[in-house]
């Protein structure tokens, strides 16, 4: 932009006339020195360039090779020029690749770049290189020779090795994380449910992610000889923090129930404990249904309390299906004076009670943003009623499988049923 003589305004050239003469002389002197330097270094540049140069005849024999490449390979010039072929300098694998890919492609395209090969030095050392070749044509358009540039790729090769090593390590770490998550998850769920006389129980858990521990949980345990307690819930969030809260929730529920099995009292106890975990910016809450089972002459009485959890579904022996709404319950762990609602359900022969987490009712069903919901679940249950806990859980597992990727969150389900009387005994 500053020195384009052709575009200089005429007036400007006039006024600068005298000094231009002086600097012109100086300029041509510098140019002469500069070109001497260039001429001097043209051959030197070829010989000592920071890359290898090699010219081969069409039959592959080496016609010219620079000092840099000779130095890398530890060969004397006279041992190679006119004596050896380029492929003689390659590893066996490199030679094969050259024959099958490199040479044919070069013939076809006239040039080929960035091919990774391995050269073998005089002392047997292997040298990873990147090779670029062009075909030089004569005046008659016939190919004359092949010019090849060879770059030392040791750095790149070690970089690649480093990448591979890092990837292997990352894979190992991921496997370890998965293993840990699976182990932790198992510790948050009972390995098996205890048997309750005159009752069938079944549970199902869906993990949304193999790396992350989910926040859904359930349990069923004996309170005394003839009373049992169960719970099912969902800690908001995922990962290690949610897992810690889940663990705390389970232990608190179990120990609180032993201390005072009144379901509402149990949830108040849990609320106090979880409030300690609460942080202003990162409130953690749990939704949970807690129940106590007491056997009756026919079936069981279930005293239920809910803290912000979706309502349980009762599938009756007569085929009717209703949600057991528990009014007034709030999320557990966020409010100092939370309210928890209570209800009593009678589970008679042929009845099944289903508890679930919102992972089920919030599953995407593949139509735009539509989700599965409480109505859909009720229809699903109505088609099955009357049923038993194991049969219902099989159907729920099949439903989860049907959702596939639409089941984005973890989902847990627990079912309790009292078997229907078998056919009347023969008179």
């Amino acid at each position: 932009m500053m020195c384009e003589p052709g575009t200089e305004p005429a007036g400007g050239a006039d006024s600068a006339g005298d000094s231009a003469g002086d600097s012109g002389e100086k300029h041509s002197r510098e140019l002469a020195e500069f070109s001497a330097l260039l001429e001097d270094s043209a051959e030197d540049l070829y010989e000592h360039a920071p890359c290898g140069y090699l010219s081969t005849l069409l039959d592959g024999r080496i016609a010219k090779i620079n000092s840099t490449l000779l130095g890398w390979l530890g060969h004397a010039r006279e041992d190679l020029v006119g004596q050896r072929r380029f492929t003689d300098l390659l590893s066996v694998g490199g030679r094969l690749y050259h024959e099958t890919h490199f040479a044919p492609l070069l013939r076809m395209q006239g040039e080929l770049g960035g091919i990774a090969l391995e050269m073998v030095a005089a002392d047997g050392r292997r040298l990873p290189v990147l090779v670029t070749s062009t075909v030089k044509h004569g005046a008659d358009g016939q190919p004359m020779l092949i010019r090849t540039t060879v770059f030392d790729a040791s750095d790149r090769r070690s970089y690649e090795r480093e990448l591979l090593r890092a990837r292997d390590e990352a894979n190992r770490e991921r496997d370890l994380a998965r293993q840990l998550a699976a182990t932790l998850q198992r510790s948050l769920l009972p390995p098996s449910l205890p048997s309750v006389p005159g009752m069938q129980v079944a549970a199902h858990y869906h993990h949304a992610s193999p790396e992350q521990v989910g926040g859904d949980f359930y349990d069923l345990f004996a309170l005394s000889q003839d009373r049992w307690a169960f719970f099912l819930g969902d800690v908001c969030g995922k990962g290690p923090t949610a897992a810690a809260v889940t663990s705390l929730t389970r232990y608190t529920l179990r120990s609180a129930a032993v201390y005072d099995p009144d379901p509402v009292a149990v949830l108040h106890n849990l609320n106090s404990v979880l409030r300690q975990e609460f942080t202003f910016e990162d409130p953690r809450f749990t939704t949970v249904i807690f129940g106590v089972l007491t056997p009756q002459e026919q079936g069981y009485t279930i005293e239920l309390a809910s803290g912000g959890h979706p309502p349980a579904l009762l599938l009756r022996a007569d085929g009717t299906v209703d949600y057991q709404h528990i009014r007034g319950g709030q999320l557990v762990g966020i409010l100092p004076d939370a309210h928890f609602g209570a209800a009593t359900v009678h589970l008679r022969p042929g009845d099944t009670l289903l508890l679930y987490t919102d992972g089920l009712t919030e599953a995407r069903i593949g139509v735009a943003n539509a989700r599965y919901d409480e109505e859909a679940l009720q229809e699903f249950a109505t088609a099955l009623a009357p049923t038993t806990a194991p049969a219902l859980m099989d159907a729920v597992a099949a439903l989860f499988a049907e959702f596939g990727a639409g089941l984005e969150d973890d989902a847990a389900a627990l079912a309790l049923s009292v078997p229907a009387p078998t056919n009347p005994p023969p008179a």
Binding site: G237, E281, D282, P283, F285, T287, P311, G328, G329, E362
Partner: protein
């Protein structure tokens, strides 16, 4: 996959956050960031308008609770407006309808708040 837009409007005695789209695990942090950066004045009302909200899971509810915490800490109030029917049910189940005053529209919430301030 899911997206959420949060638009803030200062209406003097109230600040309105219009929350539209899907409020779930993937987007809840977005609302929480807006809430964290929001300066509520003492005696102001924070209105979270949910009219454009198609979905709200437990992560979304956590964000709503964070909003309430901010309001309480600033000596401000909080209200929900335009709660779609399907979310009204979820709020009831969680018992959040007991701690969040609910109005039909932001205008109604502003009017109710101003009437109370007088």
């Amino acid at each position: 996959m899911t997206n959420l837009t949060v638009t803030a409007t200062d209406r003097g005695t109230s600040q309105v956050l219009e929350v539209a789209g899907e409020l779930d695990m993937a987007t809840a942090s977005q609302l929480r960031e807006v809430l964290r950066d929001l300066t509520l004045r003492r005696g102001q009302q924070l209105i979270i308008d949910m009219a454009g909200l198609g979905f709200c899971d437990s992560s979304g509810m956590t964000a709503l609770i964070t909003g309430r915490n901010h309001a309480v800490a600033a000596d401000a109030s909080v209200a929900l407006t335009g709660v779609p029917n399907h979310l009204r049910r979820a709020l009831q189940v969680a018992g959040l309808d007991q701690i969040f005053p609910v109005h039909a529209t932001p205008d109604e919430a502003v009017a109710a708040w101003d009437a109370r301030s007088d």
